[in-house]
Symmetry: D2
């Protein structure tokens, strides 16, 4: 089968390094061409000593982006938002797929929303005709179609949106969700903050600590909201609260979805009593039925595991893998579907999903290079 | 001022050990009489070597509960639910305050709810005439009155309920909350699981991991719900999801309260667009106003710190202290108040609050023994 | 190439689960036959949910040891010390290699030492004629020879000994070490304690903690000492102190080896002064020369990486890999070689090394199934 | 009793913040005057939100060093090495004790050693006539005498030296140590690296990691060596290897001291055998005797706890306290005393010890402000 020369622009950020690690183990990788502004001319293992002894497929040292693009059949970019559009344009002109891990291509034609949340408009708006939001479980066919018709640009999803959208999709697609806001309460590991040292990621201040941040104003909110609308065709309010947790990798999103068909259990024993009953058998049956909808929905997806009924999703069971683990629950009164959705933020939430997109574009096995089994500990 | 002989039944569990630590540093402590079924006859420092050199006020080794009660002016109990009622009865008969860290006295006369969630009814229902739910910020006057009229039993609140109730109280009391369920999404440190080794608390399986548990069926749900009703006089649905996070101490509760006076910002730019706008200036002003209500509400409370506007509550800033840190936020559309509420689960969530209750009962300074400043790292 | 049916006895301990994970990804694995006394009849993913969706090569549920052996071409055993000899005997009789992760076959004919440290003698002493200490970097040829001559039993090394022996081997083999004890001061991650919950591995008591244990009496001491003697032909005193550190995986051994050719730098400026000088240029040159000996010694080893001069070994750079990373240093006076040696205790320190031994026995690529690149974070 | 106005220069570094926290709870503190170059003019709780609500004794915001000195009766300085000498001079001239947490006054008249390791000589060498190395357990009388005779400068010990010296002192002072180098292998928590974010302290790269650093060249080596010579009167070679461990607070030093009176146990069963015997009863008795020497040596020290025989020192049992916990062990052959010495690097290793020195200077109870009982979890 076809072997590829692959370029990675921004290879020394955390997502870039994770891309490199995954692609070095990918069966279709011929050569890797890595680019880094900060470390141009150096060897990757100088920056990341963990790669020592594993760099045979990397051609040359860290090079200029232009040179990496020139040498490659497909290009990944892991750059700050707003920086990569010129490279995307070059790739499209040269007929090379461009898989972008920034937010630049996540909003398609909706430049107004992008500009409102990211502070600047598009540099090359017309590129969105070749771009698609790269969540395979939502857009696999669209990705394939676009790739078949010419060079494609993938707007690789954000980490939180990946966990949130996969968690809510069956409920939205199957009409389980009633009116009202969907709440996404999520915790991320510290690698989500990237490689640059900063107070918020200084070990003594984030170890042994849990804290929310950017409450009510995180940029992943509109990305989640757009995808929810894509699934169901109507705008739904989304409330999203990210937290930082003292783990290296992982996102755990807990998603509250009001049920269209809420059960009629009286919430308390009597009007005079002020506490809810524990879940009844009817509520337990409802929970099991909802779980069954989820299990059926994802039964053919290679990277979404709906856990057995009764289990709860955990970040450690997906660590270093491309899995999204999902568990479905119901509150004690049967009013609200509660989904726990766990991913490794660096894999399914970034580099792994990007490789999954590459596999789809080129018709490789979708799990090529992504078959690692999570280790639990 | 009065010095007390103090009994602690269940002194070798984590909450019991934390009580011991706090009371050893309490200015009104004369003698401590510790009881433990598991370690009867041993010295405390055999079980907890951290106490080495600090046990002068502890009289004798770990003794029988009856002996600890006999020797004490006030008795704390940190026992499994359903075990301590007989000791409470003894204390009431002997005229000694009984401060109970189990759930046995948190539900007052509502035995039906207690029985439904805890699996058994009350042993001595009549004791509830002498008991009060010991959240000082909610019931300080009731605690004092009951203590003034005879021996009082304190149903010391659960850890999650403490964070949740303190976080929601101003919104409920001041009429900010509209209809609809209040969602409490919370993460706890592993000490919340107690001293007994178990798979869920085995280092390799809970380090570097975040996971929800008992979704839709945690026993703290009715406790939270009851208190919400007490504050506002009406039953409100509560949805509560606990998580385990890899920290030793701390609870961070993120609370979603639908606003009665939701702002009218159109959620998206136009009907055709599917993503929310970022928070407008009007929304920011609304958030600041809600923050001001919170700051005003708690301005005289010694242990509740409403953080400066713009900050977010963190568990590391309350570690080893009796503080509850609260930050108030609003979602981007102005529909929902989002409160972050952080406590140390072993202090304000258990032993510290119990000592605060003792201070109230005896008219000590409310922060006596509880003046430790959190250390951040 | 040959595909194997592989048996794992004791598959649900941590080392057994890690073996399973590695062998599921091994290109020569045809079928896995897993055995577990504790979970007989259950599916592996019930015990380890991380395996969900990856169990196609596992034939049946967890079965009896005899059945796993019968169905397999090669058998791994990860059992408590003293339990596996009967299985080893069966395997030898049936002509199947037996790779044993316990200490039972690490001491060869020296039953007296084994009995003194492990509390009981051998059940089948004669089996040692077919056994070899399975540290490939020390005994690769012996392993091959024995395997070529009939069924081989591998005494797979302990985790600490692997790090210690690989760290000291070049110094011993090349005659750099002078007289005097070699000190091995090492820290291990908590997975080293296994899967069973216990106080010492209870999250709240080992998180945020570093502590030595079994000082002066750990059973890995004689294993290290024996290997040192094997390398150089003379007995050398070894002092070994293990510590528990709050990491999941990893051993970092810091090894102090008195140099035969200690430099003549006066340790202090003058007899009257009481503090050492900083390292001189001569000492730095000596360090670089020693580093060069190490780099040369291991230049053809696939799993030992002597780090560039100036770097220091870290457990996070070998995590989930079969690497042993080594850095060589000298104290400021040039008297002592200080080696830092880092492995993943579950991989090179247990399951990975066992698979490496299997690869040698069957003539597979030595890194088959072991090509995972460590991820740094 | 006397209440003091206390100045802290460098109050916003980690040691400065810890000093502030301890001194806010000190019974003799009247006013605190804090200085910070980085945050001049701001309120402390802006930089350290954990102090919110506890700043009544802090007069004004963060001010100039000169102003803090002027307003104070005693001055602490927690500054980079080489920066504080002018302030020390001012204090001596004004008759105010100066307690310096940098290395500037740890080497007394031995400027040559200081210059060789710290890169520059003394600015005011004559100040060393008023300075003393502030390890109370070694120099308590000298500190008192110097303080009684005029303004004293305390060279507050480094964190590693505190653990190392307290661990070795009884062996040296009582003549237990034979010839040969003393090896100090130690691990520190990440707060030891200070408040400034840096790659080495970036959460994703130091979480779940153990690694040595500055092997053979750490500046605490000569400080340890000097103190060892002070204790025994002769220079002894010291080999010191620091490690970084993923804990917030704590140093665990494991110290290897060759015994003068090494036991005669044959190290192996016979000349032909290559592994050591397990410790004999004689060795166990020797260990117990050595433990008894330690227990006796420190029996009157308020902050050194020699653990019961058989226990091992742990950093979590001294966390947030001024204790140094020590356990004494012997290797299996009886040749080497192995001491484990645990402190909280921010308390006994920095701020707590500085306050202990202040208490000695002014004749306060030595544990005034330092009575916190460690919490274990």
């Amino acid at each position: 089968m076809q072997r590829m020369n692959i370029g990675i622009i921004g290879a020394t950020g955390y997502a870039g390094a994770e891309l490199t690690r995954i692609l070095l183990g990918h069966p279709q990788t011929a050569e890797l061409h890595l680019s880094s502004v900060s470390f141009e001319g150096e060897a990757l293992e100088t920056v990341y000593p963990n790669f020592l002894g594993n760099t045979k497929k990397i051609v040359g040292g860290l090079k200029k982006a232009e040179d990496a693009i020139e040498a490659s059949d497909v290009v990944f970019a892991s750059l700050p938002h707003g920086v990569g559009e010129d490279f995307a344009k070059t790739c499209v002109e040269k007929g090379k797929p461009f898989i972008d891990l920034s937010a630049d291509f996540r909003f398609g034609a909706d430049e107004r929303t992008f500009a409102a949340w990211y502070g600047a408009g598009y540099r090359h708006p017309e590129l969105r005709r070749r771009s698609v939001y790269g969540l395979p479980e939502l857009n696999r066919d669209a990705i394939r179609r676009l790739a078949d018709s010419g060079p494609v640009i993938i707007g690789n999803p954000g980490c939180y949106p990946t966990a949130a959208i996969l968690g809510a999709m069956p409920a939205l697609a199957r009409g389980l969700a009633g009116d009202g806001a969907i709440i996404v309460d999520a915790a991320s590991g510290v690698t989500g903050g990237g490689r640059e040292p900063a107070r918020a990621y200084h070990y003594p201040e984030c170890a042994d600590n849990v804290s929310p941040y950017k409450v009510g104003c995180h940029r992943h909110t509109p990305e989640i909201s757009r995808a929810f609308a894509d699934i169901r065709g109507v705008f739904r309010p989304v409330i999203f609260t990210p937290h930082l947790a003292p783990v290296n990798r992982g996102i755990l999103a807990t998603i509250y979805i009001p049920l269209a068909d809420a059960r009629a259990q009286p919430p308390a024993f009597s009007p005079k009593e002020t506490a809810p009953r524990p879940p009844s058998k009817e509520i337990a049956a409802q929970a099991e039925a909802l779980h069954a909808v989820y299990a059926e929905f994802y039964k053919d997806e290679p990277f979404v595991r709906v856990l057995p009924f009764g289990a709860a999703a955990s970040t450690n069971r997906v660590r270093q893998s491309n899995y999204c683990d999902i568990s479905a629950h119901v509150d004690q009164s049967g009013s609200t579907l509660i989904i726990a959705s766990a991913i490794d933020n660096m894999v399914k939430g970034a580099a792994g999903q990007a490789v999954q997109n590459m596999n789809i574009i080129f018709g490789f096995e979708e799990n090529a290079g992504l078959a690692a089994i999570p280790a639990l500990f």
